[in-house]
Symmetry: C2
Subunit: 342 residues, 2 copies
């Protein structure tokens, strides 16, 4: 079975100059995939020289509009029905693609995906799951901003979706789930989190209990669940802190001739360190809980990072992630209309 990815080629900081080469690289490595490049044909065509060898595995779908980063969600949703983002998601809806990927405006992508694809039965709110590096690997955190006011039930659903995401992308049987909280003891945390812990305990997931902010980086759990407000603050503050540390180090190393010399000496060390915590390798956030697969690339992604996101989207499609989430929700709520054996 060939997996087809609909790629919004116009999104992100760099647009087609990054997305198109990334797709070509991706298709060259994975013969089981094909791609539909969505965007302004005139902007895409010149970047395809030498891609003839891919034959039917590479197609262009013209889309006349682009959702800009500053566009209000309502504009993106109602007034730009021929945007590359919208057309890419439409292709998933119509069954002409198995997954969509965009590096554009996150809020617009979630709103369009929700509107076009609809939410899976049993899921109240779709969520955004992203990957963070840890001391000895990485972990998945959700929600990262789609839901700012969450109930305990939402958090429990995030745990289920996160578990199935990790199972699909990492081929793991029972990934561990932690609930982001401000203390390890059961009594700590706000009311919603306390109730969510009870639900998660009864969910049948491999639930470890509470995880504190610092334990995320120690790899305490494969999946960390939190509401979108906390998750967004966590993600952005971590990015900001890492940037501050990196630029601070760079400044100190460029202070004078001697420090510049020591930087030269330390170059192999700095490169090895960068490889280890290379955030580009973690690119590709998953919009979970929809009747279709949508992935979000970081806006600043380069071709390597964008390719990593393409690989994740393809793997989720191969593993039929939405069907698995739907099946799990049907078992949890057999009374909601889907037969358990469906």
């Amino acid at each position: 079975m060939t997996i087809t990815i609909a790629v919004d080629c116009m999104g992100g900081d760099h647009g087609p100059s990054v997305t198109v080469p990334a797709v070509l690289d991706f298709l060259g490595r994975d013969a089981g995939c094909s791609a539909v490049l969505v965007g302004r044909e005139a902007a895409l065509r010149p970047l395809l020289r030498g891609a003839e060898r891919l034959g039917q595995r590479l197609r262009i779908q013209n889309a006349s509009e682009v959702v800009e980063m500053h566009d209000a969600i309502s504009i993106a949703l109602r007034n730009k029905k021929d945007s590359s983002m919208r057309v890419a998601v439409d292709l998933v809806k119509d069954g002409r693609a198995d997954a969509a990927l965009s590096a554009g405006n996150t809020g617009a992508l979630m709103a369009i995906s929700r509107f076009v694809l609809k939410t899976l039965r049993g899921i109240d709110r779709p969520a955004i799951a992203s990957i963070l590096p840890t001391v000895d690997g990485h972990c998945y955190v959700l929600d990262l901003g789609a839901n700012v006011d969450c109930t305990a039930e939402h958090l429990c659903q995030f745990g289920i979706m996160g578990t199935l995401l990790v199972a699909a992308l990492e081929h793991r049987d029972r990934p561990s789930v932690g609930l982001l909280n401000i203390g390890e003891e059961d009594i700590k945390g706000n009311e919603v989190v306390k109730q969510a812990a009870e639900l998660l305990k009864e969910s049948g997931l491999n639930f470890l209990g509470n995880v504190e902010g610092d334990q995320i980086w120690r790899g305490a759990a494969d999946v960390v669940v939190c509401d979108g407000f906390v998750g967004n603050v966590l993600l952005k503050s971590s990015e900001g802190l890492a940037q501050m540390i990196a630029s601070g180090l760079k400044e100190e190393f460029s202070r004078n001739l001697l420090t510049k010399l020591s930087a030269l000496m330390a170059l192999p060390v700095i490169r090895a360190f960068k490889r280890r915590f290379d955030h580009r390798a973690y690119n590709g956030a998953s919009l979970l809980g929809l009747k279709g697969i949508v992935f979000k690339s970081h806006g600043s992604a380069d071709a390597y990072a964008f390719r990593c996101a393409l690989e994740r989207a393809a793997e989720a499609a191969r593993e039929r992630l939405p069907e698995k989430i739907a099946a799990r929700m049907a078992i949890l709520h057999p009374d909601n209309g889907i037969p358990v054996a469906a």
Copy 2:
């Protein structure tokens, strides 16, 4: 006027071996201060050799019990009435000290302080304010864990208390206040945060609007306001991330003879970098909104870090911080019983 600090000498990871030398160093540098060492006299006395020159500026107040890090708050509050932490706060209540400092259990310290000192009129919830380094200085963030379920009014009060804290410790006229949120636009965020923004706009503070997680580190505001759940996750995840980066760098530098040599070459750079973001210099979180001054030192503080916290507590006492907060709250709510001119 001499400022007297009541020091819980038994708290923290290292107890008297750190707290007592720190107090001696502090008193040697600030002739305007005196200290009461609170704890087991037998443990403190041997550390005071050579301190006779301080005369009446240094006293010991025996306290037979110690609040342990794992003690439940209820145990600390009800069953350990002769703990060093409790006795230090009692000294503030009785007017025999101008401020208390402890490196012990944060939850217990807040509960004891609230019970003994009571909350200022107009303040619904005391908060914990801590200092984080930024690219070009530092900022104050509150609340960091005292309040997990906050209303918009609480967040607005945090803004007022944070403003007066920065005014007192940094001698700044109108420090800027930012509201931690997940987008810069007014429409983003959860309901409580949106309402808090409205209250802060009308508060007369130097309110800048929303601040996102990454902007904290860029020094976007002098005071960043958030609920205690978000603040605690922010603080702990930042500590954890910084540790992961530091230990990752250390590992890469110790990999082989060549990398070790480059580490030796880079030592001045690494030292300069450490000095710049030295978290010890930011030690001393403030418990705000109480009828008295209480500061919290990090549990792992060394003597230098503990001295920094002592200096902050002394400055808050010199500036009569609680009186200033009470006066500001009386202006905001003239109908709550305190005459505006009080």
